[in-house]
Protein backbone atom coordinates (compact mmCIF):
# COMPACT_ATOMS: atom_id res chain seq x y z
CA UNK A 1 0.00 0.00 0.00
CA UNK A 2 2.86 2.37 0.82
CA UNK A 3 4.25 2.01 -2.70
CA UNK A 4 0.95 3.27 -4.07
CA UNK A 5 1.81 6.84 -3.12
CA UNK A 6 4.76 6.74 -5.48
CA UNK A 7 2.63 5.57 -8.36
CA UNK A 8 0.45 8.68 -8.19
CA UNK A 9 3.02 11.16 -9.57
CA UNK A 10 3.64 8.85 -12.52
CA UNK A 11 -0.08 8.56 -13.15
CA UNK A 12 -0.18 12.35 -13.05
CA UNK A 13 2.58 12.49 -15.70
CA UNK A 14 0.77 9.98 -17.85
CA UNK A 15 -2.52 11.84 -17.52
CA UNK A 16 -0.81 15.05 -18.61
CA UNK A 17 0.02 13.42 -21.92
CA UNK A 18 -3.61 12.65 -22.64
CA UNK A 19 -4.94 16.02 -21.55
CA UNK A 20 -3.27 17.59 -24.59
CA UNK A 21 -5.90 18.05 -27.28
CA UNK A 22 -5.39 15.98 -30.38
CA UNK A 23 -5.27 17.99 -33.59
CA UNK A 24 -5.07 17.15 -37.29
CA UNK A 25 -1.82 18.16 -38.98
CA UNK A 26 -2.00 20.36 -42.08
CA UNK A 27 0.58 22.00 -44.34
CA UNK A 28 0.39 25.20 -46.40
CA UNK A 29 0.13 24.84 -50.15
CA UNK A 30 2.03 28.06 -50.90
CA UNK A 31 3.79 30.94 -49.18
CA UNK A 32 5.14 34.38 -50.04
CA UNK A 33 6.76 37.31 -48.26
CA UNK A 34 4.95 40.47 -47.21
CA UNK A 35 6.70 43.81 -46.92
CA UNK A 36 4.79 44.66 -43.73
CA UNK A 37 7.40 44.68 -40.95
CA UNK A 38 6.69 42.38 -37.99
CA UNK A 39 3.08 41.62 -39.02
CA UNK A 40 0.91 40.79 -36.04
CA UNK A 41 -2.59 40.35 -37.51
CA UNK A 42 -4.61 40.46 -40.71
CA UNK A 43 -8.27 40.86 -41.72
CA UNK A 44 -10.23 41.16 -44.94
CA UNK A 45 -11.14 44.46 -46.55
CA UNK A 46 -14.95 44.28 -46.72
CA UNK A 47 -15.20 45.66 -50.26
CA UNK A 48 -12.38 44.08 -52.24
CA UNK A 49 -9.66 41.40 -52.13
CA UNK A 50 -7.24 43.51 -50.12
CA UNK A 51 -6.34 43.01 -46.48
CA UNK A 52 -5.69 45.25 -43.52
CA UNK A 53 -2.63 44.36 -41.48
CA UNK A 54 -1.09 45.66 -38.29
CA UNK A 55 2.47 45.43 -37.08
CA UNK A 56 4.14 44.98 -33.70
CA UNK A 57 5.73 48.39 -34.01
CA UNK A 58 2.38 50.16 -34.07
CA UNK A 59 1.33 50.65 -37.70
CA UNK A 60 -1.83 49.93 -39.72
CA UNK A 61 -1.50 49.02 -43.41
CA UNK A 62 -3.76 48.14 -46.31
CA UNK A 63 -2.09 45.47 -48.43
CA UNK A 64 -2.97 43.71 -51.68
CA UNK A 65 -3.66 39.99 -51.92
CA UNK A 66 0.08 39.38 -52.36
CA UNK A 67 0.84 41.05 -49.05
CA UNK A 68 2.37 44.20 -50.55
CA UNK A 69 1.65 47.56 -48.92
CA UNK A 70 -0.83 49.81 -50.74
CA UNK A 71 -1.21 52.48 -48.08
CA UNK A 72 -0.40 53.15 -44.45
CA UNK A 73 -2.44 54.97 -41.82
CA UNK A 74 -0.96 58.22 -40.55
CA UNK A 75 -0.73 56.76 -37.07
CA UNK A 76 1.97 55.38 -34.84
CA UNK A 77 0.81 53.27 -31.94
CA UNK A 78 2.66 51.19 -29.34
CA UNK A 79 2.16 47.61 -30.41
CA UNK A 80 -0.84 46.80 -32.60
CA UNK A 81 -1.76 43.14 -32.21
CA UNK A 82 -5.25 42.69 -33.64
CA UNK A 83 -7.28 44.10 -36.53
CA UNK A 84 -10.85 43.80 -37.78
CA UNK A 85 -12.76 45.76 -40.44
CA UNK A 86 -16.46 46.25 -41.13
CA UNK A 87 -18.30 48.33 -43.76
CA UNK A 88 -17.34 51.61 -42.11
CA UNK A 89 -14.38 51.22 -39.82
CA UNK A 90 -11.12 49.42 -39.14
CA UNK A 91 -10.64 48.40 -35.51
CA UNK A 92 -7.13 47.96 -34.12
CA UNK A 93 -6.22 46.66 -30.66
CA UNK A 94 -3.08 47.79 -28.94
CA UNK A 95 -1.86 45.18 -26.50
CA UNK A 96 0.34 47.10 -24.11
CA UNK A 97 -1.76 50.24 -23.63
CA UNK A 98 -5.10 48.36 -23.69
CA UNK A 99 -6.74 50.49 -26.38
CA UNK A 100 -9.03 49.96 -29.33
CA UNK A 101 -8.32 52.43 -32.12
CA UNK A 102 -11.13 53.00 -34.62
CA UNK A 103 -10.14 54.21 -38.11
CA UNK A 104 -12.31 55.40 -40.97
CA UNK A 105 -12.32 52.62 -43.57
CA UNK A 106 -11.85 54.95 -46.54
CA UNK A 107 -9.39 57.53 -45.20
CA UNK A 108 -7.68 55.45 -42.49
CA UNK A 109 -7.97 58.47 -40.22
CA UNK A 110 -8.20 57.75 -36.51
CA UNK A 111 -11.75 58.64 -35.48
CA UNK A 112 -12.04 57.17 -32.02
CA UNK A 113 -9.99 55.62 -29.19
CA UNK A 114 -11.44 53.44 -26.47
CA UNK A 115 -9.46 52.50 -23.36
CA UNK A 116 -10.22 49.06 -21.90
CA UNK A 117 -8.13 48.71 -18.73
CA UNK A 118 -6.76 45.24 -18.05
CA UNK A 119 -4.22 44.50 -15.31
CA UNK A 120 -2.63 41.36 -16.77
CA UNK A 121 0.94 41.14 -18.03
CA UNK A 122 2.23 43.97 -20.20
CA UNK A 123 2.77 41.66 -23.17
CA UNK A 124 -0.13 39.42 -22.29
CA UNK A 125 -2.90 41.87 -23.05
CA UNK A 126 -5.31 42.20 -25.97
CA UNK A 127 -4.08 40.17 -28.89
CA UNK A 128 -7.08 39.60 -31.15
CA UNK A 129 -10.30 41.26 -32.26
CA UNK A 130 -13.14 40.14 -34.51
CA UNK A 131 -16.92 40.30 -34.85
CA UNK A 132 -18.97 37.35 -33.65
CA UNK A 133 -21.96 37.39 -36.00
CA UNK A 134 -23.72 34.64 -34.07
CA UNK A 135 -23.96 36.92 -31.05
CA UNK A 136 -23.85 40.16 -32.98
CA UNK A 137 -21.00 41.38 -30.78
CA UNK A 138 -17.41 42.43 -31.21
CA UNK A 139 -15.04 40.19 -29.25
CA UNK A 140 -11.48 40.77 -28.10
CA UNK A 141 -9.14 38.22 -26.56
CA UNK A 142 -6.14 38.41 -24.25
CA UNK A 143 -3.02 36.54 -25.25
CA UNK A 144 -2.30 34.31 -22.24
CA UNK A 145 -2.07 33.88 -18.48
CA UNK A 146 -5.07 33.74 -18.65
CA UNK A 147 -6.87 33.77 -22.00
CA UNK A 148 -10.01 35.88 -21.69
CA UNK A 149 -12.59 36.45 -24.38
CA UNK A 150 -14.44 39.71 -23.80
CA UNK A 151 -17.73 40.31 -25.58
CA UNK A 152 -18.23 44.02 -26.23
CA UNK A 153 -21.21 46.31 -26.42
CA UNK A 154 -21.84 48.48 -29.46
CA UNK A 155 -19.94 51.32 -27.76
CA UNK A 156 -16.98 48.91 -27.33
CA UNK A 157 -17.37 48.68 -23.57
CA UNK A 158 -17.10 45.22 -22.02
CA UNK A 159 -20.36 43.29 -21.84
CA UNK A 160 -19.23 39.81 -20.84
CA UNK A 161 -16.06 37.98 -19.80
CA UNK A 162 -15.38 34.35 -20.70
CA UNK A 163 -12.32 32.48 -19.45
CA UNK A 164 -10.83 30.28 -22.18
CA UNK A 165 -7.91 28.97 -20.14
CA UNK A 166 -6.86 25.47 -21.10
CA UNK A 167 -7.73 25.85 -24.76
CA UNK A 168 -4.12 26.64 -25.71
CA UNK A 169 -0.93 28.12 -24.30
CA UNK A 170 -1.76 31.44 -25.98
CA UNK A 171 -4.03 33.07 -28.54
CA UNK A 172 -2.53 35.28 -31.25
CA UNK A 173 -5.45 35.95 -33.62
CA UNK A 174 -9.20 35.52 -34.11
CA UNK A 175 -11.54 35.64 -37.07
CA UNK A 176 -15.13 34.75 -37.90
CA UNK A 177 -15.76 32.54 -40.91
CA UNK A 178 -18.48 30.18 -42.10
CA UNK A 179 -20.60 30.66 -38.99
CA UNK A 180 -17.77 29.76 -36.63
CA UNK A 181 -15.21 31.57 -34.54
CA UNK A 182 -11.62 30.66 -35.39
CA UNK A 183 -8.69 31.18 -33.06
CA UNK A 184 -4.98 30.94 -33.73
CA UNK A 185 -2.35 29.92 -31.18
CA UNK A 186 1.23 31.01 -31.79
CA UNK A 187 2.91 28.84 -29.16
CA UNK A 188 0.87 25.74 -30.01
CA UNK A 189 0.89 26.50 -33.78
CA UNK A 190 -2.73 25.43 -33.90
CA UNK A 191 -5.96 26.78 -35.40
CA UNK A 192 -9.12 26.14 -33.39
CA UNK A 193 -12.68 26.14 -34.70
CA UNK A 194 -15.16 27.19 -32.01
CA UNK A 195 -18.89 27.20 -31.61
CA UNK A 196 -19.52 30.98 -31.56
CA UNK A 197 -22.39 30.65 -29.09
CA UNK A 198 -20.71 28.75 -26.26
CA UNK A 199 -17.04 29.02 -27.34
CA UNK A 200 -16.48 25.28 -27.17
CA UNK A 201 -13.71 23.91 -29.38
CA UNK A 202 -15.13 21.83 -32.25
CA UNK A 203 -11.92 21.00 -34.09
CA UNK A 204 -8.22 21.86 -34.19
CA UNK A 205 -5.47 21.78 -36.80
CA UNK A 206 -1.71 21.94 -36.24
CA UNK A 207 0.66 23.40 -38.82
CA UNK A 208 4.45 23.85 -39.15
CA UNK A 209 4.87 27.63 -39.16
CA UNK A 210 7.15 29.70 -36.94
CA UNK A 211 5.49 32.50 -34.93
CA UNK A 212 2.01 32.57 -36.52
CA UNK A 213 0.32 35.85 -35.55
CA UNK A 214 -2.38 36.53 -38.14
CA UNK A 215 -5.39 34.50 -39.31
CA UNK A 216 -7.99 35.20 -41.99
CA UNK A 217 -10.03 33.36 -44.60
CA UNK A 218 -9.71 35.09 -47.96
CA UNK A 219 -12.39 35.64 -50.56
CA UNK A 220 -11.44 32.30 -52.16
CA UNK A 221 -12.24 30.59 -48.86
CA UNK A 222 -8.59 29.76 -48.31
CA UNK A 223 -7.14 29.98 -44.84
CA UNK A 224 -4.31 32.52 -44.64
CA UNK A 225 -1.83 32.51 -41.75
CA UNK A 226 0.74 35.27 -41.37
CA UNK A 227 4.05 34.65 -39.62
CA UNK A 228 5.53 37.53 -37.67
CA UNK A 229 9.15 36.31 -37.47
CA UNK A 230 9.17 35.12 -41.08
CA UNK A 231 7.14 38.12 -42.40
CA UNK A 232 5.39 35.67 -44.66
CA UNK A 233 1.90 34.63 -45.83
CA UNK A 234 1.01 30.93 -45.76
CA UNK A 235 -2.01 29.78 -47.78
CA UNK A 236 -3.93 26.63 -46.87
CA UNK A 237 -6.51 24.68 -48.83
CA UNK A 238 -9.99 24.76 -47.37
CA UNK A 239 -12.23 23.11 -46.36
CA UNK A 240 -9.84 21.84 -43.75
CA UNK A 241 -9.72 18.06 -43.28
Amino acid sequence: MRQLYWILPFLFLLASAFIVKKATHIKPKESFFTNVPEPSDICNHPNNNNYFMVSDNGYLFEVDENGQIIRKADFEGFDCEGVHADENFVYVVEEMVRKIRVFDLNTLELVRTVHLPYQGGRNKGYEAITFNKAKNRMVILTEKDPIYLFELNEDLSIYNEILLDGIARDISAATYHADHLWLLSDEDRTVFKLDPNNYKVLAAWKFPIINPEGLVFNKKDQMVIVSDDMEKFFIFETPLP
Binding site: P9, P37, G121, R169, R189, I210
Partner: protein
Protein backbone atom coordinates in the same frame (compact mmCIF):
# COMPACT_ATOMS: atom_id res chain seq x y z
CA UNK B 1 8.11 11.90 4.53
CA UNK B 2 6.95 10.36 1.26
CA UNK B 3 3.40 11.49 1.92
CA UNK B 4 4.67 14.97 2.62
CA UNK B 5 6.62 15.12 -0.68
CA UNK B 6 3.58 13.85 -2.56
CA UNK B 7 1.33 16.48 -1.00
CA UNK B 8 3.86 19.22 -1.84
CA UNK B 9 4.01 18.04 -5.47
CA UNK B 10 0.24 18.05 -5.82
CA UNK B 11 -0.01 21.51 -4.27
CA UNK B 12 2.66 22.82 -6.65
CA UNK B 13 0.81 21.35 -9.60
CA UNK B 14 -2.31 23.32 -8.88
CA UNK B 15 -0.93 26.61 -7.66
CA UNK B 16 -1.98 29.26 -10.19
CA UNK B 17 0.77 31.34 -11.79
CA UNK B 18 -1.20 34.00 -13.61
CA UNK B 19 -0.03 36.61 -11.18
CA UNK B 20 1.60 39.09 -13.48
CA UNK B 21 0.34 42.61 -13.07
CA UNK B 22 0.68 45.80 -15.05
CA UNK B 23 -0.38 49.37 -14.53
CA UNK B 24 -0.85 51.88 -17.29
CA UNK B 25 -2.20 55.27 -18.14
CA UNK B 26 -2.23 54.90 -21.89
CA UNK B 27 1.28 56.23 -22.41
CA UNK B 28 3.23 54.72 -19.59
CA UNK B 29 2.98 51.02 -18.76
CA UNK B 30 4.62 49.45 -15.73
CA UNK B 31 4.75 45.72 -15.20
CA UNK B 32 5.46 43.98 -11.91
CA UNK B 33 6.83 40.45 -11.95
CA UNK B 34 9.07 38.30 -9.83
CA UNK B 35 9.89 34.84 -8.71
CA UNK B 36 11.00 32.56 -5.95
CA UNK B 37 13.10 29.43 -6.24
CA UNK B 38 14.35 27.07 -3.60
CA UNK B 39 16.17 23.76 -3.61
CA UNK B 40 17.73 21.06 -1.51
CA UNK B 41 21.41 20.33 -2.12
CA UNK B 42 23.31 17.17 -1.30
CA UNK B 43 27.00 16.60 -1.93
CA UNK B 44 29.13 13.50 -2.01
CA UNK B 45 32.41 14.57 -0.48
CA UNK B 46 35.91 13.31 -1.08
CA UNK B 47 37.33 11.16 1.69
CA UNK B 48 39.64 14.04 2.58
CA UNK B 49 36.75 16.32 3.48
CA UNK B 50 34.22 16.17 6.29
CA UNK B 51 32.57 19.55 5.86
CA UNK B 52 28.93 18.92 4.94
CA UNK B 53 27.84 22.53 5.18
CA UNK B 54 26.42 22.43 1.64
CA UNK B 55 23.93 19.68 2.47
CA UNK B 56 21.03 22.00 3.07
CA UNK B 57 17.91 23.75 1.81
CA UNK B 58 18.65 27.03 0.11
CA UNK B 59 16.54 29.91 -1.05
CA UNK B 60 18.17 30.72 -4.39
CA UNK B 61 15.93 33.50 -5.70
CA UNK B 62 13.53 35.99 -4.22
CA UNK B 63 13.24 38.43 -7.08
CA UNK B 64 11.15 41.44 -7.88
CA UNK B 65 11.22 43.01 -11.31
CA UNK B 66 9.76 46.30 -12.48
CA UNK B 67 9.72 46.71 -16.23
CA UNK B 68 8.24 49.73 -17.91
CA UNK B 69 7.82 51.62 -21.09
CA UNK B 70 6.97 55.23 -21.78
CA UNK B 71 5.50 55.84 -25.24
CA UNK B 72 7.69 54.41 -27.96
CA UNK B 73 10.82 56.08 -26.76
CA UNK B 74 11.80 54.89 -23.28
CA UNK B 75 12.01 51.43 -21.77
CA UNK B 76 13.42 50.66 -18.37
CA UNK B 77 13.99 47.78 -16.01
CA UNK B 78 14.76 47.39 -12.35
CA UNK B 79 15.32 43.91 -10.95
CA UNK B 80 16.49 42.95 -7.48
CA UNK B 81 17.06 39.69 -5.70
CA UNK B 82 16.42 40.04 -2.00
CA UNK B 83 18.37 36.89 -1.14
CA UNK B 84 21.62 38.45 -2.30
CA UNK B 85 21.01 42.09 -1.42
CA UNK B 86 22.61 41.73 2.02
CA UNK B 87 26.00 40.73 0.63
CA UNK B 88 25.78 43.27 -2.15
CA UNK B 89 26.76 46.24 -0.02
CA UNK B 90 30.01 44.95 1.46
CA UNK B 91 30.97 41.33 0.80
CA UNK B 92 31.79 39.27 -2.28
CA UNK B 93 29.04 39.38 -4.88
CA UNK B 94 27.90 36.13 -6.47
CA UNK B 95 28.14 37.13 -10.14
CA UNK B 96 25.62 34.47 -11.12
CA UNK B 97 23.07 35.80 -8.72
CA UNK B 98 23.81 39.38 -7.62
CA UNK B 99 21.47 41.40 -5.43
CA UNK B 100 20.91 44.08 -8.03
CA UNK B 101 20.29 42.34 -11.32
CA UNK B 102 19.21 45.15 -13.63
CA UNK B 103 18.83 48.91 -13.37
CA UNK B 104 18.86 50.48 -16.81
CA UNK B 105 17.03 52.80 -19.15
CA UNK B 106 16.86 52.28 -22.91
CA UNK B 107 16.25 55.10 -25.35
CA UNK B 108 14.41 53.76 -28.39
CA UNK B 109 13.64 57.02 -30.11
CA UNK B 110 16.35 56.88 -32.77
CA UNK B 111 14.70 54.08 -34.69
CA UNK B 112 17.82 52.60 -36.25
CA UNK B 113 19.53 52.01 -32.91
CA UNK B 114 18.69 51.71 -29.22
CA UNK B 115 20.88 53.17 -26.49
CA UNK B 116 20.94 51.49 -23.10
CA UNK B 117 22.43 53.18 -20.06
CA UNK B 118 22.85 51.90 -16.53
CA UNK B 119 23.61 48.57 -14.91
CA UNK B 120 22.68 45.29 -16.51
CA UNK B 121 23.77 42.17 -18.34
CA UNK B 122 26.63 42.56 -20.76
CA UNK B 123 26.05 41.38 -24.30
CA UNK B 124 28.83 38.85 -24.14
CA UNK B 125 28.22 35.07 -24.12
CA UNK B 126 24.89 33.70 -25.34
CA UNK B 127 24.67 31.33 -22.42
CA UNK B 128 25.03 34.21 -19.98
CA UNK B 129 22.23 36.05 -21.78
CA UNK B 130 19.76 33.18 -21.42
CA UNK B 131 17.48 34.02 -18.46
CA UNK B 132 18.15 31.53 -15.71
CA UNK B 133 14.52 30.51 -15.27
CA UNK B 134 14.44 29.19 -18.85
CA UNK B 135 16.96 26.42 -18.15
CA UNK B 136 16.63 23.05 -16.45
CA UNK B 137 19.75 23.57 -14.36
CA UNK B 138 20.22 25.05 -10.91
CA UNK B 139 23.60 26.48 -11.81
CA UNK B 140 25.17 27.90 -14.94
CA UNK B 141 28.28 26.33 -16.48
CA UNK B 142 31.48 27.33 -14.66
CA UNK B 143 32.85 29.36 -17.54
CA UNK B 144 29.78 31.60 -17.80
CA UNK B 145 28.98 31.96 -14.10
CA UNK B 146 30.87 35.20 -13.86
CA UNK B 147 34.12 34.00 -12.27
CA UNK B 148 36.15 34.27 -15.47
CA UNK B 149 34.43 37.31 -16.93
CA UNK B 150 31.85 39.65 -15.52
CA UNK B 151 28.22 39.21 -16.55
CA UNK B 152 26.99 42.63 -15.53
CA UNK B 153 28.47 46.12 -15.41
CA UNK B 154 27.63 49.82 -15.47
CA UNK B 155 28.00 51.58 -18.78
CA UNK B 156 26.41 52.37 -22.09
CA UNK B 157 25.37 49.93 -24.82
CA UNK B 158 24.42 50.64 -28.42
CA UNK B 159 22.26 47.96 -30.01
CA UNK B 160 20.73 47.43 -33.40
CA UNK B 161 19.23 44.66 -35.48
CA UNK B 162 18.91 43.91 -39.19
CA UNK B 163 17.35 41.44 -41.59
CA UNK B 164 14.12 40.98 -39.66
CA UNK B 165 15.95 40.76 -36.32
CA UNK B 166 18.03 37.83 -37.53
CA UNK B 167 21.21 39.87 -37.10
CA UNK B 168 21.83 41.56 -33.77
CA UNK B 169 24.67 43.96 -33.06
CA UNK B 170 25.80 45.19 -29.65
CA UNK B 171 28.66 47.38 -28.62
CA UNK B 172 29.39 49.15 -25.37
CA UNK B 173 31.79 50.66 -22.91
CA UNK B 174 31.72 49.88 -19.18
CA UNK B 175 33.72 50.39 -15.99
CA UNK B 176 35.29 46.95 -16.35
CA UNK B 177 34.79 46.11 -12.70
CA UNK B 178 31.75 43.98 -13.46
CA UNK B 179 29.28 43.35 -10.67
CA UNK B 180 31.50 45.37 -8.29
CA UNK B 181 31.01 48.48 -10.41
CA UNK B 182 27.80 49.28 -8.59
CA UNK B 183 29.78 50.21 -5.46
CA UNK B 184 30.93 53.41 -7.05
CA UNK B 185 34.52 54.15 -7.93
CA UNK B 186 36.58 52.69 -10.75
CA UNK B 187 39.92 51.08 -10.01
CA UNK B 188 43.10 53.18 -9.88
CA UNK B 189 43.82 52.70 -13.60
CA UNK B 190 40.62 54.58 -14.42
CA UNK B 191 40.30 52.58 -17.63
CA UNK B 192 37.06 51.16 -19.05
CA UNK B 193 36.26 47.82 -20.70
CA UNK B 194 34.92 47.55 -24.25
CA UNK B 195 32.50 44.77 -25.18
CA UNK B 196 30.99 43.84 -28.55
CA UNK B 197 28.83 41.08 -29.96
CA UNK B 198 27.20 40.08 -33.24
CA UNK B 199 24.91 37.14 -33.81
CA UNK B 200 23.05 35.88 -36.82
CA UNK B 201 20.10 33.49 -36.93
CA UNK B 202 18.33 31.57 -39.69
CA UNK B 203 15.62 31.12 -40.90
CA UNK B 204 14.03 33.49 -38.36
CA UNK B 205 15.06 35.46 -35.29
CA UNK B 206 16.25 33.26 -32.47
CA UNK B 207 15.65 34.34 -28.90
CA UNK B 208 18.29 33.72 -26.22
CA UNK B 209 16.77 30.50 -24.91
CA UNK B 210 18.18 27.02 -24.29
CA UNK B 211 14.98 24.98 -24.48
CA UNK B 212 12.82 24.58 -27.59
CA UNK B 213 9.54 25.03 -25.77
CA UNK B 214 7.69 25.89 -28.98
CA UNK B 215 8.70 22.60 -30.63
CA UNK B 216 10.03 24.55 -33.62
CA UNK B 217 8.78 22.98 -36.86
CA UNK B 218 11.71 24.19 -38.97
CA UNK B 219 15.38 23.77 -37.95
CA UNK B 220 16.70 27.04 -36.51
CA UNK B 221 20.31 28.07 -36.10
CA UNK B 222 22.18 30.90 -34.46
CA UNK B 223 25.85 31.78 -34.54
CA UNK B 224 27.43 34.48 -32.41
CA UNK B 225 30.87 35.95 -31.88
CA UNK B 226 31.83 38.35 -29.12
CA UNK B 227 34.90 40.01 -27.72
CA UNK B 228 35.97 42.35 -24.94
CA UNK B 229 39.08 44.33 -24.12
CA UNK B 230 40.40 46.20 -21.10
CA UNK B 231 43.76 47.77 -20.39
CA UNK B 232 43.83 48.33 -16.66
CA UNK B 233 47.44 49.01 -15.77
CA UNK B 234 47.50 50.03 -12.13
CA UNK B 235 49.87 52.75 -10.89
CA UNK B 236 52.64 51.34 -8.72
CA UNK B 237 51.48 50.37 -5.27
CA UNK B 238 47.80 50.42 -6.14
CA UNK B 239 45.47 47.44 -6.10
CA UNK B 240 42.03 46.58 -7.39
CA UNK B 241 38.97 46.96 -5.14
CA UNK B 242 38.31 43.94 -2.94
CA UNK B 243 36.52 41.02 -4.65
CA UNK B 244 36.68 42.67 -8.11
CA UNK B 245 39.18 40.19 -9.58
CA UNK B 246 36.84 37.28 -8.93
CA UNK B 247 37.35 33.81 -7.52
CA UNK B 248 40.21 32.95 -9.90
CA UNK B 249 41.83 36.39 -10.21
CA UNK B 250 40.86 36.56 -13.89
CA UNK B 251 37.95 39.01 -14.10
CA UNK B 252 40.14 42.07 -13.83
CA UNK B 253 43.90 41.96 -14.27
CA UNK B 254 46.69 44.46 -13.82
CA UNK B 255 47.49 44.82 -17.50
CA UNK B 256 45.87 44.17 -20.85
CA UNK B 257 43.13 41.59 -21.14
CA UNK B 258 41.51 40.30 -24.33
CA UNK B 259 38.61 37.88 -24.27
CA UNK B 260 37.10 36.22 -27.34
CA UNK B 261 34.11 33.95 -27.54
CA UNK B 262 32.03 32.10 -30.06
CA UNK B 263 28.66 30.41 -29.61
CA UNK B 264 26.27 28.35 -31.68
CA UNK B 265 22.70 27.25 -31.02
CA UNK B 266 20.27 24.93 -32.77
CA UNK B 267 16.69 23.87 -32.16
CA UNK B 268 14.17 21.67 -33.93
CA UNK B 269 11.10 19.74 -32.81
CA UNK B 270 11.90 19.97 -29.11
CA UNK B 271 15.59 19.16 -29.52
CA UNK B 272 18.05 21.94 -28.87
CA UNK B 273 21.81 22.18 -28.57
CA UNK B 274 24.26 24.88 -27.63
CA UNK B 275 28.00 25.17 -27.85
CA UNK B 276 30.10 28.00 -26.52
CA UNK B 277 33.85 28.59 -26.29
CA UNK B 278 35.92 31.38 -24.73
CA UNK B 279 39.59 32.24 -24.58
CA UNK B 280 41.25 34.90 -22.50
CA UNK B 281 44.61 36.40 -23.43
CA UNK B 282 46.05 38.25 -20.45
CA UNK B 283 49.17 40.40 -20.54
CA UNK B 284 49.97 41.39 -16.96
CA UNK B 285 52.18 44.45 -16.69
CA UNK B 286 54.23 43.07 -13.79
CA UNK B 287 56.61 40.14 -14.25
CA UNK B 288 55.77 38.95 -10.74
CA UNK B 289 52.01 38.92 -11.30
CA UNK B 290 50.36 35.96 -9.59
CA UNK B 291 48.96 34.84 -12.95
CA UNK B 292 52.51 33.91 -14.03
CA UNK B 293 52.60 31.30 -11.24
CA UNK B 294 56.14 32.37 -10.31
CA UNK B 295 57.55 31.32 -13.68
CA UNK B 296 60.27 33.38 -15.40
CA UNK B 297 59.41 35.59 -18.38
CA UNK B 298 61.27 33.37 -20.83
CA UNK B 299 58.82 30.60 -19.98
CA UNK B 300 55.67 32.68 -19.95
CA UNK B 301 56.47 34.96 -22.91
CA UNK B 302 54.71 37.65 -20.91
CA UNK B 303 51.18 36.40 -21.34
CA UNK B 304 48.69 33.92 -19.87
CA UNK B 305 45.89 32.06 -21.62
CA UNK B 306 42.73 30.78 -19.98
CA UNK B 307 39.49 29.50 -21.36
CA UNK B 308 37.20 26.62 -21.99
CA UNK B 309 34.02 25.47 -23.58
CA UNK B 310 30.58 24.21 -22.70
CA UNK B 311 28.26 22.10 -24.77
CA UNK B 312 24.67 21.26 -23.95
CA UNK B 313 21.93 19.04 -25.38
CA UNK B 314 18.26 19.37 -24.42
CA UNK B 315 15.01 17.67 -25.28
CA UNK B 316 11.59 19.01 -24.42
CA UNK B 317 8.83 16.40 -24.59
CA UNK B 318 5.78 18.59 -24.38
CA UNK B 319 3.07 15.88 -23.92
CA UNK B 320 4.80 14.95 -20.66
CA UNK B 321 5.69 18.58 -19.85
CA UNK B 322 9.21 17.36 -19.31
CA UNK B 323 12.69 18.54 -20.25
CA UNK B 324 15.99 16.74 -19.99
CA UNK B 325 19.40 18.34 -20.50
CA UNK B 326 22.96 17.10 -20.63
CA UNK B 327 25.90 19.46 -20.23
CA UNK B 328 29.62 18.92 -20.53
CA UNK B 329 32.13 21.63 -19.71
CA UNK B 330 35.87 22.00 -19.70
CA UNK B 331 37.81 24.85 -18.16
CA UNK B 332 41.49 25.74 -18.14
CA UNK B 333 42.11 28.51 -15.65
CA UNK B 334 45.75 29.04 -16.58
CA UNK B 335 47.77 27.55 -19.43
CA UNK B 336 50.93 27.80 -17.34
CA UNK B 337 49.51 25.18 -14.99
CA UNK B 338 49.17 21.66 -16.42
CA UNK B 339 45.70 20.16 -16.68
CA UNK B 340 42.17 21.41 -16.78
CA UNK B 341 38.85 20.68 -15.14
CA UNK B 342 35.87 18.83 -16.59
CA UNK B 343 32.29 18.60 -15.35
CA UNK B 344 29.21 16.73 -16.44
CA UNK B 345 25.69 17.79 -15.49
CA UNK B 346 22.31 16.25 -16.08
CA UNK B 347 19.26 18.45 -15.70
CA UNK B 348 15.65 17.36 -15.63
CA UNK B 349 12.52 19.41 -15.21
CA UNK B 350 8.80 18.87 -14.97
CA UNK B 351 6.67 21.86 -15.91
CA UNK B 352 3.52 22.27 -13.87
CA UNK B 353 2.81 25.60 -15.59
CA UNK B 354 5.54 26.06 -18.17
CA UNK B 355 8.71 27.70 -16.91
CA UNK B 356 6.69 29.62 -14.34
CA UNK B 357 6.11 26.64 -12.08
CA UNK B 358 8.72 24.00 -12.59
CA UNK B 359 10.30 21.20 -10.59
CA UNK B 360 14.02 21.10 -11.42
CA UNK B 361 16.69 18.53 -10.72
CA UNK B 362 20.41 18.75 -11.42
CA UNK B 363 23.12 16.16 -11.01
CA UNK B 364 26.73 17.35 -11.09
CA UNK B 365 29.78 15.16 -11.48
CA UNK B 366 33.37 16.34 -11.38
CA UNK B 367 35.23 14.36 -14.03
CA UNK B 368 38.55 16.11 -13.60
CA UNK B 369 39.82 19.02 -11.56
CA UNK B 370 42.60 21.55 -12.01
CA UNK B 371 45.32 21.75 -9.37
CA UNK B 372 44.78 25.47 -8.83
CA UNK B 373 41.06 24.94 -8.25
CA UNK B 374 40.72 21.96 -5.89
CA UNK B 375 37.18 20.81 -5.18
CA UNK B 376 36.17 18.93 -2.02
CA UNK B 377 33.28 17.02 -3.54
CA UNK B 378 32.84 14.59 -6.42
CA UNK B 379 29.08 14.56 -7.02
CA UNK B 380 26.22 16.84 -6.17
CA UNK B 381 22.43 16.58 -6.35
CA UNK B 382 20.08 19.52 -6.33
CA UNK B 383 16.29 19.40 -6.49
CA UNK B 384 13.81 22.21 -6.03
CA UNK B 385 10.94 24.30 -7.25
CA UNK B 386 10.99 27.43 -9.38
CA UNK B 387 7.93 29.65 -9.27
CA UNK B 388 7.63 32.91 -11.21
CA UNK B 389 4.73 35.30 -10.98
CA UNK B 390 4.97 36.56 -14.51
Amino acid sequence: MRKLILVVLLIIAYVPTNAQLSLGNGQHVLEITGGVSTYYNQRILKETSDNKNKDRFRLRDAQLQLEGRYKNTIAYELQVDFVDLASFATGAIDPENPGLMDAFVTYKGLGFMDIQMGYGKLFYSRSSLVPFQYTTFWQRAQIVRGDMFSRRDVGITLMSDFWRQRINLYGGVYTGLGELSIRGDNDASGQPEFVGRIDIAYPSRFRYRDIDDKITPIPMFQLGVNGRYANKQLPEGRSFPAFSTGEFGLKVINGERYLYGMDAAFQYMGFSAQFEIHQMHAIPQLENDALFQGLPIDQTDGFVLAGGYVTQLNYHYRPWKSIISLRFEELDLNDLVPGNSQRLSIGAAYQFRGFDSMLKFQYFRILREESIDPIRWTEQFRIGWQYNFK
